[in-house]
Point group: C2
Chain length 166, copies 2
């Protein structure tokens, strides 16, 4: 077996989105058990100028969908950021999983040198596929899933490292 | 170019530890500018039963050193967790970089199927090298670097996503 672009991307994304889904379940159970208005957690932030839980989920799913699509050189769906409840956030994760799971190794393997251009607010970022995966996609995906985990953890949801590793 | 176990590990670890070092610099500058006792930030946590900033740095560096060593099948140094200041945490990161940087691709490439056993509190975890890298090392390393970033961010240190991506 040799490490491939597919193996280092799609199954990892699927695994981490499964983790995110399980973390969100624990958040939803937490507010229900304590009769807390769910939007308190959905809108919770770790700093006033950081994005809330809902945006962490939106960004994590966008990163996985767009990342896999760019590596495969295929179109990706646009997902407006409208989720404001736990069930809606779960559906967003499920939608991302439904996009990722049918992707096959032959769509992504060999994308190490594929030219990828990202349009940022202040200009373009140019990557080759491997650099994009290792130094942009994976760090961003892990960042947003960890941020979601830590927002919930900070607010008292009982989560442990195993919930993160899945 | 084909993705390899070395490329997906050592340079990524070095990059993320560089990020961690830059984040710690901003934390040190923050307490100095505001005449805050540095230990307040070094011991800061996001939840009472979560580990503080110092431990996030210790765990991130351990993960990188031990992970690379296990993939290469070489011994790794034991680092007692004694750091309690920003300069000591920086030296811990530097020590990890000095361990990682001399590692060569031929020490790590081909480790996809290497059997790796971790002794956990409640038993052993068995991995093959590729699974260990993708589903244990990288998530753990990103978790602890993100936790360090978010502990500082939560306490008012001015950090943005670019400080995380490096």
């Amino acid at each position: 077996m040799t490490l491939s672009m597919y193996q280092a991307s799609v199954p990892v994304f699927v695994h981490m989105l499964g983790t995110l889904s399980a973390i969100l379940d624990k958040g939803a159970a937490f507010v229900e058990a304590r009769a807390i208005e769910p939007s308190v957690l959905v809108n919770a932030r770790l700093a006033p100028d950081m994005r809330p839980l809902s945006a962490q989920v939106q960004l994590a799913t966008d990163m996985a969908i767009r990342g896999a699509a760019r590596l495969a050189g295929i179109e990706f769906p646009s997902n407006p950021d409208t989720e404001s409840t736990f069930p809606e956030l779960q559906e967003r994760v499920n939608k991302a999983l439904r996009f990722l799971e049918p992707l096959s190794p032959d769509q992504i393997d060999g994308s190490e040198d594929r030219a990828i251009t990202l349009q940022m607010r202040d200009g373009e970022l140019h990557f080759k596929g491997q650099d994009y995966l290792l130094n942009f996609l994976l760090p961003n995906l892990y960042f947003h899933v960890t941020a979601a985990y830590l927002i919930l953890r900070h607010n008292g949801v009982e989560l442990g490292k195993r919930d993160f590793l899945g």
